[in-house]
Each structure stands twice: as C-alpha cells, then as structure tokens.
C-alpha cells in the first residue's frame, strides 16, 4: 500500500495512508500517514464505532490539507486497557495465518514464481 501511495504522490496526486503497522509504513516512507495503534485490520477505526471512524478519516483529510512535508500523525485512540495483543501477535500462540492460510500463501508464492520464470509478470 505504501508503494502505491508513493507512486501516486510522485505522479502528482496527494495521498494519505491510514494504517496500523507504523514501522513498516515508515520504513518504506510515505507523504502522509495516519497511524492508529490497533491490531492489524481496522485502520479507519474500531468496528461499528462510527464517531471514531469519522474522526480518523477526518484526520486523514486534515492532513491532506495541512501537510507541507512528509508526516505521521497518531490518532488519540487506544484499542483497550489490555495491550497484551502487542506481545502476543506473530507468536506461536497466535500465528498470523492459520494452517490453510499459510498453505494457500505458499501455493500462490510458488505460482507467482512460475509466472515470473516464464516472464509473464
């Protein structure tokens, strides 16, 4: 997503990225980033929390107007009082993909390599 944002930005379209993986987006580098310190999945607010979603999208719009240089803004929300998810994610206790998902990912990866070796991608 950050790569797409960079391409649009370089082509004259101002962009704002909304996301929850701060280190990955900032490692890549984007013009405007609205970071929510949430588990991966809900970059525009908690499910069914309309006021929060409206505010986070509003922050993105504000940033489109106000930014004069690359910038990250952190939203003022917390996922909850229990932040143990930050420790548990990407561990054996909580593998990111389940077994089926991992197998599907690996099959697709192989298929992509096949296309690449044939010069089709």
């Amino acid at each position: 997503m950050a790569l797409a944002a960079r391409h649009l930005e370089a082509s004259g379209i101002p962009t704002v990225v909304l996301g929850c993986a701060r280190d990955i987006v900032e490692h890549c580098g984007v013009a405007r980033f609205v970071f929510s310190d949430f588990p991966l999945g809900n970059p525009t607010g908690k499910p069914w929390d309309v006021p929060m979603q409206r505010a986070i999208v509003g922050l993105g719009l504000e940033l489109l107007e106000s930014a004069r240089a690359p910038v990250t803004v952190t939203t003022p929300y917390r996922w909850g009082p229990d932040e143990s998810w930050k420790v548990k994610c990407f561990t054996k206790e909580r593998p990111f993909l389940n077994v089926d998902g991992t197998e599907k990912w690996l099959r697709r990866k192989e298929a992509y390599r096949g296309l690449k070796s044939e010069g089709r991608v």
């Binding site: 997503m1 790569l3 797409a4 944002a5 960079r6 391409h7 649009l8 930005e9 004259g12 379209i13 101002p14 962009t15 704002v16 990225v17 909304l18 996301g19 993986a21 701060r22 280190d23 990955i24 490692h27 580098g29 013009a31 310190d37 588990p39 991966l40 999945g41 809900n42 970059p43 525009t44 607010g45 499910p47 069914w48 309309v50 979603q53 409206r54 999208v57 509003g58 719009l61 930014a67 004069r68 240089a69 690359p70 996922w79 932040e83 930050k86 994610c89 990407f90 909580r94 593998p95 990111f96 993909l97 599907k104 697709r108 990866k109 298929a111 992509y112 296309l115 089709r120 991608v121």
Partner: protein
C-alpha cells in the same frame, strides 16, 4: 506500551518457522511529496485498499488460486457497503474482525464528509491492491494501474487503507 515492531516480529517469527532468509521490507531514502494546492472542498477523493473486497454473491479474489499475478481490480463505490465483504486472512483475527467494512474501507464515512462539504465527492470506483510477493510488480504494474484509473476518474487526492 509502544507500538508493535512488525518488521522485527515477523523476522523472528518466520526464522522460528525455519525460513532462513528474512523478508526485505521496502525502503527508500527519499519520500515523494505533492502539496495540495487547491481547496479540499473541491476535491474528488479516490480510495485504495488492501482489504481484498468482493460483492456478496460473487466470488472474491481468494477463490481463484490460479490467479497468481493478483492484479489490481476495482469495484464501484456506489455498492452498498452492506453488500461488500472480505475473506482476507492476513489481519489480527485473535483481536478483531473485518465484519464492519467501514473499519477499513471508509466509503460511507467519506461520503458523510462529502455531504458536509468537506470534500467534493468520492470517486466512482475504489481499487484493491494485493499485498504482493514482488515489490517490483507493485511498483511497475499495480501502482501505475491505480494511477491510470484515478486519472480516468478525475481523482484529486487519494486515501489508502492498509489492512
């Protein structure tokens, strides 16, 4: 507690799974920046997501395993969000859900901002970009296709949601 370091965590996690070579996350020294020089209230907003959306009753990108290229596709923003869904698996399924589309694809929220005059309107279609194995493909095929569609739709600014 500080934010999660996913780059470090994934490196450790996949090393523990036996993958010897760590993924090299995209990194650049420069950051392209385009300043908005016109009033936001006159802007058409484009929307891009990695949330792999589909319309209820129709197959989604996860159904076609033969589609290894996983190209960019677009759906109309006029689709009621209640008719959109995803089966994307790459998110924190232990902590949250993707049941509320507006929590990662804010079509209705953007439209509310348009109704209040904050933006002119929302582009007629949104784009789905897959998380690719190949950064090269994202940069040379997918991103240019998103740009092409946005230029065709007269998009002035873009909101991108990384799920």
């Amino acid at each position: 507690m500080d934010h999660v370091r996913y780059i470090d965590k994934t490196r450790e996690y996949y090393a523990g799974e036996g993958y010897a070579r760590p993924y090299r996350w995209a990194h650049f020294d420069d950051i392209p920046f385009t300043r908005l020089t016109r009033p936001l209230a006159g802007c058409r907003v484009g929307l891009v997501t990695s949330s792999e959306m589909a319309v209820l009753g129709e197959p989604g990108p996860w159904d076609d395993e033969a589609d290894a290229a996983r190209d960019v596709y677009a759906l109309p923003t006029a689709t009621p969000t209640g008719k959109l869904y995803t089966k994307k698996e790459a998110f924190d399924r232990y902590e949250t859900t993707l049941d509320d589309v507006e929590s990662y694809l804010p079509i209705t929220r953007l439209r509310e901002h348009a109704n209040q005059g904050r933006i002119r309107d929302v582009a007629p279609r949104f784009q789905v970009v897959h998380s690719q194995y190949s950064q090269r493909k994202t940069m040379t095929v997918d991103a240019p296709e998103v740009l092409r569609q946005m230029q065709e739709d007269g998009v002035d600014v873009a909101v991108l949601t990384a799920v």
